[in-house]
């Protein structure tokens, strides 16, 4: 699905009139049908990596292939769910957001688009909010709507940038369970960025841990089928990821800061 070889992404930093390296030497692959989680401290470039897969940015060096082709432009085959609620178009109802997306991205005829939209809203359980405007919804409902819009496009993969990051704990857990169910039912490939260890293990088949300054891949950990957060294996993985994220980060950060 996605093959990355030695990908580096620099971006121009207008404040310093220089280039900042957001990602360095990233090599990984995303397999069809899996949930691939990218986890790392904030500012480590995980969102940049997701945006590069989405086609919003291009790799400065290295090779990034999506379904065998370089991802040069964004497109509905890689539907993105963002953290911010204003990803929904405020001037359209929930249902019209989905219908509009199908109309412009997939050229779906109106009637088919409406039927599809209703089916997707039922899938994420917000049928009762179909005719509401986004500002009338709670945070969790907005994210459900965004997921419905993304899934309606029948993307080859769903890219999610901390989709539950702005939600309260209860809503967040509920949506994690539902996303897992949706994944099971649709089999869609998911690339999910998060900074929650629990979320990474619970949802991920594999978790890619990233470091900061510069952003590099530290390790890719196999975490598939962890739906029991109480199990010893879950605790073991939590410890392992915490070790990779927190402790080694402290060890490594000091000399790197000194070099810079």
């Amino acid at each position: 699905m996605v093959v990355a070889e030695d990908v580096a992404v620099d971006y121009l930093n207008p404040a310093h009139h220089g280039r900042t390296t957001a990602i360095e030497d990233a090599s990984f692959d995303v397999r069809r049908g899996e949930t691939f989680v990218i986890i790392g401290p904030s500012g480590c470039g995980k969102t940049t990596l997701l945006k590069t897969i989405a086609g919003f940015m291009r790799p400065t060096r290295g090779k990034l292939l999506v379904e065998g082709h370089p991802a040069r432009e964004p497109g509905p085959d890689r539907a993105v769910v963002f953290q911010d609620f204003d990803q929904l178009f405020a001037w359209r109802t929930v249902r019209d957001n989905v219908v509009y997306a199908l109309r412009v991205a997939r050229n779906t005829p109106v009637r088919a688009a409406r039927e599809k939209a209703d089916a997707m809203l039922a899938l994420v359980d917000i049928t009762r909010a179909a005719n509401k405007y986004p500002h009338e919804l709670s945070g969790g409902m907005k994210q459900r709507a965004a997921i419905a819009r993304a899934l309606a496009l029948e993307p080859t993969m769903l890219l999610m940038d901390e989709p539950f990051g702005a939600l309260d704990m209860i809503t967040r857990n509920q949506l994690q369970i539902e996303l897992k169910n949706i994944h099971r039912r649709t089999g869609v490939t998911i690339v999910l960025v998060t900074h929650s260890i629990q979320e990474a293990i619970y949802l991920g088949d594999r978790v890619m841990v990233m470091s900061r300054h510069p952003a590099r891949i530290r390790e890719i950990v196999d975490t598939h089928d962890q739906s029991d957060v109480e199990s010893p294996r879950f605790a073991e993985l939590t410890g392992k990821l915490r070790e990779l994220l927190v402790h080694r980060d402290q060890e490594l950060d000091v000399p790197e800061e000194a070099v810079l």
């Binding site: 990803q87 929904l88 178009f89 405007y133 500002h135």
Partner: protein
């Protein structure tokens, strides 16, 4: 809460207007004011009624509104075009900066003498200066609206594969609508003052005279009541248009949660 505050808004405003009219009437009737200087509300109503009956006032209002609407349509379209061009290219942005710097401080009524040389004593001259008055507030506010659209909204639009013209009409314009309405409101305020001022200056020859011409004509014949009648029509139209903007906002940006209800 006082008794006054408990009244509905319409009643409060109506009472204030009635009080102002009463004081005005009392001042004229009891103060023995020279009627050539100040007309009483009743005289104004009578003059307005007479000119409404023979159609003169409607005709003047119609002419003014036509000139205003034509000028605003032209100005608004050019303003949108400039702002759209500015969003997509550096040179467009620079062009907008340069043009607004030059023309925005210039009261467009100051262009009227030039317009009269170019287009003659015709409504075309008025439409031209009205358009010139409306371009800049529309262009600046629309540009500002485009620039303050949330990054996520733009990324979501690009994710759907929207580009170019479809991106502008499908996402940028509605997302920038609060600013656009602000721009068109400012344009209306400039345009309205400009159209009345332009008509005052040259009146427009023949039968095409507007409200400015109506007022100036009344001054010529020392019909003070008619001068006041013209002013009242201008004010009332202003109130109606403000209400219209309020209605449009309630039906769009307020309903969509992009702007809080006033």
């Amino acid at each position: 809460m006082s008794t006054w505050a408990r009244l509905p808004a319409v009643a409060r405003y109506a009472l204030l207007v009635a009080a102002i009219l009463a004081i005005w009437q009392a001042y004229v009737t009891l103060g023995h004011v020279q009627p050539l200087l100040v007309a009483s509300p009743l005289d104004v109503a009578g003059a307005a009624w007479a000119d409404l009956k023979d159609g003169q006032l409607e005709k003047a209002t119609y002419n003014t509104l036509i000139n205003l609407i034509l000028g605003m349509i032209v100005g608004t379209l050019i303003g949108f075009a400039l702002a759209s061009f500015a969003v997509f290219s550096r040179i467009g942005q620079d062009l907008l900066t340069v043009l607004t710097s030059i023309f925005n401080p210039l009261p467009s009524i100051a262009i009227l003498p030039l317009a009269m040389i170019w287009f003659g004593l015709q409504p075309k001259s008025i439409v031209f200066v009205v358009a010139l008055a409306t371009i800049w507030p529309v262009a600046l506010n629309t540009d500002n609206g485009f620039r303050t659209i949330s990054q996520t909204t733009q990324l979501a639009a690009r994710n759907l594969g929207l580009r170019g013209w479809r991106l502008v009409t499908g996402v940028l314009l509605p997302a920038a609508l609060p600013s656009i309405i602000t721009g068109v409101k400012a344009a209306w305020a400039f345009g309205w003052r400009t159209v009345v001022a332009a008509e005052l200056i040259f009146g427009v020859a023949g039968s095409a005279g507007g409200l400015g011409w109506y007022i100036n004509n009344a001054r010529y014949y020392l019909n003070t009541s008619n001068i006041f009648a013209g002013l009242v029509v201008i004010s009332v139209l202003g109130i109606i248009v403000e209400g219209l903007f309020g209605f449009i906002e309630r039906r769009t940006v307020v309903k969509w949660g992009m702007k809080r209800a006033a």
